[in-house]
Symmetry: C2
């Protein structure tokens, strides 16, 4: 299709730089409107939408006829001159001179996803195509920016990426929520968290993070759970609980600011009210678990002191703040064995959960870790965990142990919150749930 004299291909996102020039744009038909001697195909190329204007007298007759019958998602190329047009999507349109079809989707076997409403099961079954929808593209772009901002934040702060393994040996905390893998006649398990490994790399690198997929074979089917999800887990040598909270709030503020700065049109495509996101500035409120329980009860919640917060409790509490809130010092018995007890109240763990506003629930969970060998060993025994499986983890307390801490942030929940969408299944390209492993 290209010839020596053919004008250059451009990406739609760059159209504004080519106003007045003849260019070629290629992509897929998003929409087509006809008005007498004019056709208005809208093309999508993954970087944006652009409307072309085909004036019957400006293009060969056969081209005009072919264009009239183009169906959704047919692939094509349009040659034309870019001109500013405020009413067109993106602010520029293409005054077409020629149109070449790569692949016309036959009318008798049309693209299955139409502007009409489809059931969620149908859309999930066609996820490989559903991703082309403008809403899904906007979510993917925001996800991209969230991940980019997270990495930027840590890289610019001197953290070294050291990814934890996915395949892990022993089932340290019981196998009930672990996926089991056949490993050359042995058993391996898919990681639920890279934290224990990040503690080892923090002792080597000072400040480190791992960032990869994690897995949970949970039978719970809620709008906040996937079986495969991405998590970033920083870990810092010498960090105490206050340092962990400060790091967490700085990270989240950076991510929100970055998405607001780079994804305005994607947020608009999702009709996201950005006012609540603009509020997300430092410092974030910090309340103790004790205060959280009081607040939840005062607001009509019925939670019992000493239990973990449920999803409903989190929502009640988060509604009282205009930005993420950090709840610290939970009862040690509802939290993980490795959390450092509070020196003043050893029944409390030096831990923190960050709850997103607007009912999006927990996005971060972290703590200071037990650095004393005997205390950690006692906890492992109390909880009937297999001590031999933790030998290497205990080594970190045998050879130059220091206070340290970190947290995990679940990417899909952050994306759901920033996008303002109800269910995490749309926040990852190919979601995996208890009922879905396809495509």
């Amino acid at each position: 299709m290209a010839s020596e004299a053919a004008p250059p291909f451009i990406e739609i996102r760059h159209a504004g730089e080519h106003a007045g020039q003849e260019v070629r744009v290629r992509g897929w038909l998003y929409n087509l409107r006809e008005s007498g001697k004019l056709l208005f195909p809208i093309l999508r190329d993954g970087t944006g939408l652009m409307q072309a204007v085909l004036f019957k007298k400006n293009v060969p007759e056969a081209v005009f006829e072919q264009a009239r019958h183009l169906t959704q998602e047919s692939s094509l190329e349009i040659r034309g001159v870019v001109r500013a047009e405020l009413r067109a999507p993106g602010g520029f349109e293409l005054d077409a001179r020629d149109l070449t079809v790569y692949d016309a989707v036959p009318a008798e076997h049309p693209y299955p996803i139409t502007p009409k409403e489809h059931g969620i099961e149908f859309l999930m079954e066609h996820r490989h195509l559903w991703l082309r929808s403008q809403r899904q593209v906007a979510i993917l772009r925001i996800r991209h920016q969230v991940i980019r901002a997270v990495r930027e934040f840590f890289d610019n702060d001197g953290f070294i990426l050291a990814d934890a393994p996915i395949l892990t040996p022993a089932a340290c905390e019981g196998t009930s929520t672990l996926f089991e893998v056949e490993y050359f006649g042995d058993k391996a398990y898919l990681t639920q968290s890279g934290q224990l490994y990040a503690e080892a790399t923090a002792m080597a690198l000072g400040k480190t993070y791992c960032f990869g997929p994690t897995f949970r074979a949970e039978k719970s089917k809620t709008r906040r759970h996937l079986t495969e999800f991405w998590m970033v887990e920083p870990e810092v040598a010498f960090a105490q609980l206050d340092d962990v909270m400060h790091l967490a709030e700085r990270l989240v503020a950076h991510v929100v600011t970055s998405v607001l700065a780079h994804c305005r049109s994607d947020l608009a495509a999702l009709e996201r009210n950005t006012a609540p996101l603009e509020n997300v500035a430092l410092p974030f409120p910090r309340i103790t678990y004790d205060e959280a329980v009081e607040r939840i009860r005062a607001a009509g919640g019925t939670m019992e002191y000493g239990t973990d917060l449920g999803g409903g409790d989190e929502t009640i509490l988060a509604q009282q703040f205009d930005r993420p809130v950090m709840v610290h010092r939970y009862p040690a018995k509802v939290k993980a064995f490795y959390m450092q007890p509070d020196a003043e109240r050893p029944d409390l763990a030096l831990c923190v959960d960050m709850l997103a506003p607007e009912g999006y629930g927990e996005v971060i969970g972290g703590s200071q870790r037990i650095h004393d060998l005997e205390l950690l060993r006692a906890r492992i025994r109390e909880q009937n965990l297999p001590e031999e499986a933790f030998g290497w983890y205990l080594d970190l307390r045998r050879f130059g142990t220091v206070p340290h801490g970190g947290f995990g942030m679940g990417i899909e929940r952050v994306v759901a919150w920033l996008c303002g969408i109800e269910h995490v299944r749309e926040t990852i390209p190919f979601p995996r749930t208890i009922y879905r492993l396809f495509p």
Copy 2:
């Protein structure tokens, strides 16, 4: 240990900014030398090495005595004044005023990894500690920079990250090299490549990449193989083989330049001769498979025309070039079913492998993909693959198919090459091989 008046903690990498100031540095004892009334502890904190000078008369006597007996990897804090000292590691040393021990490793149970030589099995078994060695820290830092440079390259070029799933349904290409996972009573498999999924997202986003762990249950035990490794896989709508090669060489040149720019001291710690890396400039040589076979045979290799290149063949060929070489158009029958045939010689695939110099083998494999529905279906049948498992993949050719292509780059092999190390097992924090799933 901190008091109101205590001087600030600094990271060793920032020591130069504090010359003349009193600071505190904390970390682990890397080395200790004694000379009469002077002690020279070298501290590592993950960001660098720093020597302190303890002059007996400048510190309390008990502190000096305690410091004299400190063992390797004991954790401690030193307060002192930073001063320039060309002979010290890093160019600055700490004129110590006080030293506080966090955790003294007992002499009767010393840190197991000493400067003497250890066997590889011992080191792998102690990987959680081995990572603290200067050589391992240097490799991890280079790995960090490689990954950062890869993401920078794609992000700055308008690519959108869209990660492929790790848990996949059908065993598309046979189960012999796949890890099987119990999935709620069903079978899932760990991904070997995100490519097929990236093809779907490329049709949504134009230019996309996925970047995550991939898995191969290969029984082969070579210095180039891990069972779990990280791969970046860009995929581009409308890209043809030449575009794929151009993208691949630009990426690799960027990564090498970036590592040379940011990791000089790490490369020096590994005693890496950087001259061969400085050569890596565009364009990279491109030779056909046919020419590659001729060259290998002329150089004494015995490979048969029509077979894939073996590791030895790759080394012979790569030695003939001073930078990575791209070998394109292999016989279709030794390559994957989805590769577009060459229009002029349909027995050849429009594919490319990039071989690193200095015997580091294949670091990139890519191709233009078959975009014609019937041709792809025929290939699936010819190779006796289960067509129903590829239904969604075929959909990409049913609804606005376009030429497209991409490649995969294995991170561990690139890191091994840039570090100049023999075996990929040192290029990832916690390597997984057929015999190793621990720690």
